[in-house]
C-alpha cells in the first residue's frame, strides 16, 4: 500500500529530524556543562569555597587581674553558652519559645535577646544565655540541630572569684553598648558574648587586658553552622595580665571586719606607697553584671542610701575631722607660732566675735600642751592656733601631706577633695576669707573635704616624713614586692617628726581618744588619730534634694567616724585610713583601724601571702625589710 509507505517515509524522516534535534539539545547541554566545569571551573571552585569557608574571629582570653602575689582577683573560667543568629532563624520570638522549653530562660533575658536581635545587623549572633551547666549544654547540642540559627558554644567568661570584696577596684565587664560599637570599629566587639570593661580597672586597662583577636577558617553549611575547622588557625593573643599592689588576704580581712558598715578603708605600705587594701562597703557582686543585670537589681543598687556602687575610698569625699590636727600643728610649729610646750586653756568653748566655737569635750580639757591637745583631740587648742595661723599656710601644709591632690591610681572617678584657702573662697564664692572659717578648717570641718585614700597618704607621709605616693598598678609586671621606693623627704625637722609621732602614739595612751582600743604592752605599738565629722549640714542639703527618705535620717544624721593610723611605731610599715559613714564617731573607726593594722602586722601583709599558696613568691618576699 503506497499510502503506508508514504506515511512511514514521512514518519521516519521526521523522527530522525526530532532525534537529531534531541541529539543537538543534549550536545548543547554537554557543551554548557563543559563551559561551566572546565572553562569557568576555577571561578566556581573559588565561589564554592567562599560559600563554605568562613573566617571567624577567635576571642582572645582576657588578661587576668592579679593581686601582688599573683592570686587572681579577676579570672576567666570555661563557660557554656548558646547563641542565636537572627537572619538564619525564622521568627526570633518563636525560636526563643522553643529554646525556653529546653532550658530555663528569664523574661529579661528573652527581652534582651529580642532587643539585641532587632538592633544589630541580622547576621551577627546574639548570645541567648551563658553559664549553662554541662547537662543543659549537651542536651541543647543534641536538640538544636532542628533549630536553624541556634548554636551552643563554649568559651571563656570573666569571673570574679572574690565577688564583692574587690568590686570597686576591678569593676566589671559587660556586653558592649550601641555607643561603644560606634566609637570602636574593632570587629572583636561584634563577637557574640564579647565583654568589655565597664568600671574600675577593667575599664581603665581595657586595651591591655583585651588582647587581640585570632582567626580561624571554618567550613560552614548553608545556615552558617560550623561543620569543621580548616587549619591553620591563627590563635588569638591573650590580654596582658594586670598586677595590682593589693594583698588579697588583707583586702578580704578588711571587708570582713567592716561587715555591714558603710565605710571606706585604705591601707598603704609606707615604704613604697603600695595600696595593700582599698575596701568600700557595702559592695556589689561584679559577677552579676557580666550576663546583664535585671532592672530591679540595678535600681536597688542605685537607690540604696549606703551607695554600694560608689567607691568611697577614692570617690567619696568627707570632712576629715580631727585627723588633720597634726598638719595644723606642724604648720604652726614650723611658722614658729607655737612651741610643743605652748599651753592653751580649754573650757569647752571658744568665743570669736559673737560666735561660739565648741570643743567636743563640753566640760573642757583645762590647760593642755600641744601633745595632749592632739592625744585628746582638744578643739579649743586648735582654735587658738587657727587665730594665729594664716589659712593659706594651713592649706599649704594640708596639700604637702597629700590632701586636695588627685593621685590617679588607676580607678576612674577618683576625686580631689577640697583644701579651702583664700583663693578658693574668692574664686568660688567671690568673698573674702573669714577667720571663723579657719577655725572650722583647723578641726577638719567647714569646707574641707578628703577621700580615705588621701587620708591614708597623709598618714603614710606623717609616719615616714617622706612624699609617699600611692600606687595601685605595678608597671609592666616587673615587680619586687618587698622593695621600698626612695621617696623624696618632706623636709620636716626631725624634732617635729618625733614630736608628732609621740603625739599620735599618745592617742592610744591613757586619756587619748583611742585609749579604749589600745594594744597590750607586749604587742607592736600603734599610733594614729581619731576624728569625728559632723554631717548634719550635709544631711540638710541631701534632704533638700530628696535623696534620703525619712526613715534613714536617724542613721544618716549620725557623725562620720574617722581614724588614721600607722604601725608598728618602730620601723613603720602600714598606714591606714578608716572612714565609717555615720559610724558614730572616731572611736568605732579606731577599733576597726587597730584590728586592720594588727592583722597586717601579724600576717606581714604585702610581704607574703597568708596562705602557703604561692611558695615562690613567698620565699622571694621573706627577704624583705619587715621579715
Amino acid at each position: 500500500m503506497a499510502k503506508e509507505g508514504l506515511r512511514y517515509t514521512l514518519f521516519s524522516r521526521r523522527a530522525l529530524l526530532v532525534a537529531g534535534l534531541q541529539g543537538l539539545a543534549i550536545t548543547i547541554l554537554g557543551g554548557r556543562l563543559y563551559y561551566l566545569s572546565i572553562v569557568q571551573g576555577a571561578k566556581y571552585r573559588l565561589r564554592a569555597d567562599e560559600n563554605r569557608i568562613s573566617t571567624r574571629l577567635l576571642s582572645p582570653e582576657r588578661g587576668r587581674i592579679l593581686d601582688r602575689f599573683g592570686s587572681a582577683i579577676a579570672d576567666n573560667r570555661r563557660d557554656f553558652q548558646v547563641y542565636l543568629i537572627p537572619e538564619q532563624t525564622g521568627k526570633v520570638s518563636q525560636t526563643l519559645a522553643k529554646i525556653s522549653k529546653m532550658i530555663k530562660l528569664q523574661p529579661h533575658q528573652i527581652a534582651r535577646v529580642e532587643e539585641q536581635a532587632s538592633r544589630q545587623r541580622k547576621f551577627i549572633p546574639v548570645q541567648i544565655t551563658d553559664g549553662l551547666n554541662w547537662q543543659d549544654f549537651s542536651r541543647l547540642n543534641a536538640e538544636v540541630a532542628d533549630l536553624p540559627g541556634v548554636y551552643p558554644d563554649e568559651g571563656m567568661i570573666r569571673y570574679y572569684p572574690h565577688g564583692q570584696e574587690f568590686a570597686h577596684i576591678v569593676g566589671y565587664v559587660a556586653a558592649p553598648r550601641a555607643e561603644d560599637l560606634d566609637i570602636s570599629k574593632d570587629p572583636l566587639l561584634l563577637l557574640p558574648g564579647f565583654k568589655i570593661g565597664r568600671q574600675g580597672l577593667e575599664k581603665r586597662f581595657e586595651d591591655t587586658l583585651q588582647g587581640s583577636a585570632g582567626r580561624k577558617r571554618v567550613e560552614v553549611n548553608a545556615v552558617g553552622r560550623e561543620v569543621r575547622e580548616l587549619p591553620p588557625r591563627q590563635e588569638a593573643s591573650e590580654g596582658t595580665d594586670l598586677r595590682v599592689t593589693l594583698d588579697s588576704d588583707l583586702q578580704k580581712y578588711v571587708n570582713k571586719r567592716l561587715g555591714e558598715e558603710a565605710a571606706g578603708v585604705v591601707v598603704i605600705d609606707i615604704t613604697n606607697g603600695d595600696v595593700l587594701a582599698l575596701a568600700s562597703t557595702p559592695s556589689y557582686d561584679p559577677n552579676d553584671f557580666i550576663g546583664g543585670m535585671s532592672r530591679e537589681n540595678w535600681q536597688s543598687l542605685l537607690n540604696d542610701p549606703r551607695k554600694p556602687l560608689l567607691n568611697k575610698c577614692t570617690g567619696g569625699q568627707f570632712p576629715p575631722g580631727s585627723t588633720v590636727k597634726m598638719l595644723v600643728a606642724l604648720a604652726a610649729l614650723e611658722k614658729g607660732l607655737i612651741k610643743p610646750n605652748t599651753r592653751f586653756t580649754c573650757e569647752g568653748k571658744h568665743e570669736l566675735g559673737d560666735h561660739t566655737f565648741h570643743c567636743w569635750q563640753r566640760k573642757g580639757h583645762g590647760a593642755v600642751d600641744l601633745k595632749t591637745a592632739i592625744a585628746r583631740s582638744c578643739d579649743v587648742y586648735f582654735y587658738h592656733i587657727a587665730e594665729l595661723l594664716d589659712i593659706d599656710d594651713l592649706a599649704k601644709s594640708a596639700r604637702r601631706f597629700g590632701l586636695g591632690v588627685k593621685y590617679d591610681i588607676g580607678i576612674d572617678g577618683e576625686r580631689r577633695g577640697l583644701v579651702p584657702d583664700r583663693g578658693w573662697k574668692l574664686a568660688t564664692q567671690g568673698e573674702k576669707w573669714q577667720l571663723g572659717e579657719t577655725l572650722n578648717v583647723s578641726i577638719g570641718q567647714g569646707a574641707m573635704l578628703a577621700t580615705p585614700l588621701q587620708l591614708a597618704v597623709m598618714m603614710a607621709r606623717l609616719a615616714s616624713g617622706n612624699m609617699v605616693e600611692p600606687r595601685l598598678i605595678f608597671n609592666e609586671g616587673k615587680l619586687d614586692i618587698s622593695k621600698s621606693v626612695q621617696f623624696q623627704s618632706l623636709g620636716i625637722a626631725p624634732q617635729y617628726m618625733d614630736f608628732l609621732h609621740q603625739a599620735m602614739a599618745g592617742v592610744m595612751r591613757p586619756q587619748g581618744t583611742a585609749y579604749d582600743v589600745r594594744r597590750p604592752k607586749s604587742a607592736p605599738q600603734l599610733a594614729g588619730k581619731t576624728g569625728t565629722a559632723q554631717v548634719r549640714r550635709i544631711t540638710m542639703e541631701e534632704r533638700e534634694k530628696g535623696v534620703l527618705k525619712n526613715e534613714d535620717i536617724a542613721w544618716a544624721s549620725r557623725d562620720h567616724g574617722v581614724f588614721v593610723g600607722y604601725g608598728p611605731v618602730v620601723d613603720s610599715r602600714y598606714a591606714v585610713a578608716v572612714l565609717m559613714q555615720h559610724g558614730g564617731g572616731g572611736r568605732a573607726a579606731a577599733a576597726v583601724g587597730r584590728d586592720i593594722l594588727d592583722f597586717a602586722i601579724a600576717n606581714q601583709s604585702g610581704l607574703q601571702p597568708k596562705k602557703q599558696g604561692s611558695a615562690a613568691l613567698n620565699s622571694a618576699a621573706t627577704g624583705g625589710q619587715y621579715g
Binding site: L10, F11, A15, Q22, I26, G30, I38, K43, Y44, A48
Partner: protein, 384 residues
Amino acid sequence: MGSARMFAPRRTDKNWWQRLLGLNWFIILLILILGGFGVAMQYSVAGGSFEPWARIHLIRLLPTMLLMLVIAATDIRIWFALAYPAWIGGLALLLAVELIGATGMGGQRWLDLGIARLQPSELMKVATILALARYFHGLDFYQSRRLFNLLPPLFLIAVPVLVVIRQPDLGTGLMIFAVGAITIFMAGARSYIFWSGGAVLAITPWVIWPMLRDYQRDRILTFLNPESDPLGAGYQITQSKIALGSGGMSGKGFLQGTQSQLNFLPEMKTDFIFTVVVEEFGMLGGFALLGVCLIILGYGILIGLGCRNQFGRLLSVGLSFTLFMYIFINVGMVMGLLPVVGVPFPLVSYGGSAMITFMIAYGLILSVASHRDVSLAPKGSGLG
C-alpha cells in the same frame, strides 16, 4: 500488502513469557543502573545515609521496574484498545485532584494514594501520547495531512493542557503541549503548521514584553541573569552553577560535594539532583549520565523506526521524546539555560510519580519493541 516487501514478516504470535525473555535486557539493565545510581545519589544528599530517601527510592524502584516489565510483556493490542480509556481515565484523575487532591508545592497536583502521592498530570503525558498515537494510527498519509483531521488531536491535547495549567502547573502543561505537538508532527501533519507555529513562538516575547508588568519583567530578567539577585530568586540557580562548575573534570568525590553536603544547594534530592551528580563526579560523571540516557532514549527512537504499525511508531517516539523532555528541561534548568520549573531527572530524582511515569512509558516502548511486527487493525476497530 504493499508494505510486505519493506517489512519482512516475523513471528508475531509469541506468548507472554517469550515476549518477556525477548525484551532488550541490555536496555533494562541500563535502566536498572540509572535507578540504582539514583539510589546512590539519594544516599549522598542525605549526607551518606540510607534514611530517609535512598531506602524509599530503592523500595519504589523495584516494584515500578516490575510494572515496566509487565507492561512490556503485555500484548500491545491491549494498550491499543485502552488508549482512549486511558486518556479519559487520566483526565478524570486530573479533575479528581482539583476536587480532593491535597495541596502541595503551591498547587493542587497530588492525589494521595496512601503509599505514594500520584501526580495525575504525569500520567496524563503518557495517556495523551497513547490517545494521539491511537488516533493517527487510524489515519492514512493523506488523511493525516488534512487540516480538519487535526481538530480531534488538538482537543486531546488542549483539554489536559488547560486543566494542568489551571492547577497551576505551567511547566507540565507546556510539556504536554510540546510532546503532543511533536507527536502530531511525526504523524505527518503539514509542516507549515509547525514552521509558522515556531515563528509565532519566536516573536511572542517581543510582542508580549511591552505588555508585561514590572514584577513580571523582573522575574524574566532574574532568570536571564540570576547573579543580579543572588539571595532571592536567583539563589537556586546561582548555587547550582557554583556546584556544577566547582566539580571540575572529575568532581569532588562521592559524598564530598561541598555545595550539596553543606546544603547550599536547594531541592537537591529532586530538581537539582543532576547538580549533585556533577559536583561529586565532575563533568565526566555528567557526560556518563547523559550518555546512558541517550542510549535509553535512542533505543526508543530506533524501536519506532523499526515498528510496522503507526501506533507503535508514534507511541515509542512520542514517549521517548517525553523522557527526553524531562532530561532536557531538568538539566537545562539546573545549568541556568531554562527557567526553574520543577521537572525531575527521571529515575535519579526523588519522587514516585515521575518514576511511575518513566516505567509506564518505557514499558510501553518495550512493548512496542516486542510487537514491532504486529499489524494492528487500520481503523483500530478491534485487536487485530
